[in-house]
Amino acid sequence: MSTMDTLAIPAKNTHKVVINEASRKQGINTTKPVKANSTTQLERVLERGFKTTLKHGFLLMSGLLMVFPFIWMLSGSLKSNDEIFTNPLMIIPSTFNWQSFVDAFNSAPFGLYIINSFSVALFTTLLVIINSAMFAYAITQLKFKSKTFLYFVVMGCYMLPGAVTYIPSYITLARLGLLDSHMGLILSNAASVFGVFYLRQVFLKIHPSLIEAARIDGAGELKILWKIILPQCKAALATLFLITFITNYNSYMWPSLVITSQELNLIATGIRQFFIAEGNYGLNWSQIMAASTIAVLPLLVLFILCQKTILTGITNDNGVKE
């Protein structure tokens, strides 16, 4: 059933072909065996074709299952509210009703929410990349006593669930006067354990002679990091950027605690408030689906544009230590 079969079949086929060719070369009257052989070969080709079809069929089905909620969402947003209830199982709406998008934008500032999410995620990500790169540089290239200890302290923070830090962080933000501000959100998310771990892995692979040579030439540490190390790991930086950005854009629990004014809401909080707003739940599915589409679409577009970086980045050797 698995891919190992497809792996095995070509090998067997070539084997058979070799035998056929050998017997033909010997000039022996091989009508009978060849016939027998060719039927098995045909069977094999058919079997292989059948298995490929089965595989693609299965993958198409499950792929459809995976994207179905998105199709359902899009279909719901394009139907009128009446059609949703009169003709629920029709995926394609009788008329494409774009009005629900207009209505959704009119009843809540989704454009603003998206801009908020984008800017918060962008600044957080830039900060994360800068401070993780600097920290990873110190850990991998500079000599100091408490190096290992410091690294373990940072890694130990990975264990800390958000819940443990939420109450005190909330109080800290309140005391700093940063509650209900984007600055507070950005600063409280500025340290990323994953960023440090990921960049440390990448920096360890850079050949030390390059850095030595730069030091002899009298380059400062910051210059070495900026001009020699970072240009060499552009791919890793792109991956870290995308993963951090997506995580921050999607984050909900902490932002929903910190932000209270409507105009500062991020998209996740904004869409939830629209969802639970009076009269929406269970009555206004077409507008709710339009709002969900507005929230989901930017990320799907981002994913389509950068899927290679995201997909290979998560699992490539930089992220996986052996």
């Binding site: 698995s2 891919t3 190992m4 095995a8 499950s62 792929g63 995976m66 994207v67 909620p69 359902w72 969402m73 209830f85 629920p88 199982l89 600097m134 920290f135 000599k143 100091f144 410091l150 940072v154 990975y158 264990m159 800390l160 669930p161 819940a163 443990v164 830090t165 939420y166 109450i167 962080s169 109080i171 600063l187 500025a190 340290a191 994953f194 540490e221 629990m253 605690l257 998209i267 996740a268 869409i271 939830r272 969802f275 599915w285 689906m289 969900s292 929230a295 799907l300 981002l302 994913f303 389509i304 899927q307 995201i310 997909l311 998560i314 699992t315 992220g319 996986v320 230590k321 052996e322």
Partner: protein
Amino acid sequence: MNLNLQKWQNSSKVLFFIAPLMIPLITFWLVPFGWSVYISFTDWDYISPDYYFVGLENYQYMLEDGDFIQAMQNTFIFALGVVIPTVMIGLVFALLLHNNFKGSQFYRAVIFSPWITPTVAISIVWSWVFESKSGLVNLLLDKVGIAPIPWLESGDTAMFAVMVVTVWQAVSWTMLFYISALNKIPTSLYEASLIDGCSPWTRFYKITLPLISPTTFFLVIVNMITAIQAFDQFQILTQGGPSGSTRTLLYLFYQQAFEQYDMGPAAATSLIILLITGALTIANTVMGKRWVYY
């Protein structure tokens, strides 16, 4: 004198490089951790300025508290109910997709798309799918003559519905890790087994499964940690209800801290979550030969 100057220069250089990370880390991770431990020994209610040191009372109370015990059970049921299908389905997808063939990239991208999108937004979509009157699931059940089920309003099915959504979102990520693990198995092993005439199933049990077992272990642990910290989908789909049937430890923490302002018990709950995730992380570090991350 000269040596001291050099020493000072060196440590200021190190400080310059580690401070940008250490300052937010200390302010929002390390100090809050100690602070949470302290709060968990008090009866602070956030609003009044004074509080009492109650020692282990919050922890003792937990053991007798029905809500806490229920939340603990729910957390474990949810974690198991999410992790087992996620890892199994993820492996099936990875087995089908780890070889590059025409369209494999497309399938990978399609399967991965749920992971990219905000959990809140897709949970809203799913809440419609599970809606009791006009939801997709009940409409389909109606077609085959099964009476509608109040998925999210009944304590028996609500947890299942949240699990479905969570598995749907988590499968893709698990698949990617399995794909990279499968690609690292040396092909010579499969070639040898071909010569020996092993059946595909034997090959799977004797070669593939043992060789990807470190990845499996890693994926089980990490998916479990993620499941224990699931919040968004609960908030949208069930809010911990009906009558606490989907209230996990994290949701209990949220209600204690930010709805009832019982900061002491909430901090104690959060430390129990920390104990569980900490134990899982240590198990992962110690037992996993390849220490994989994220």
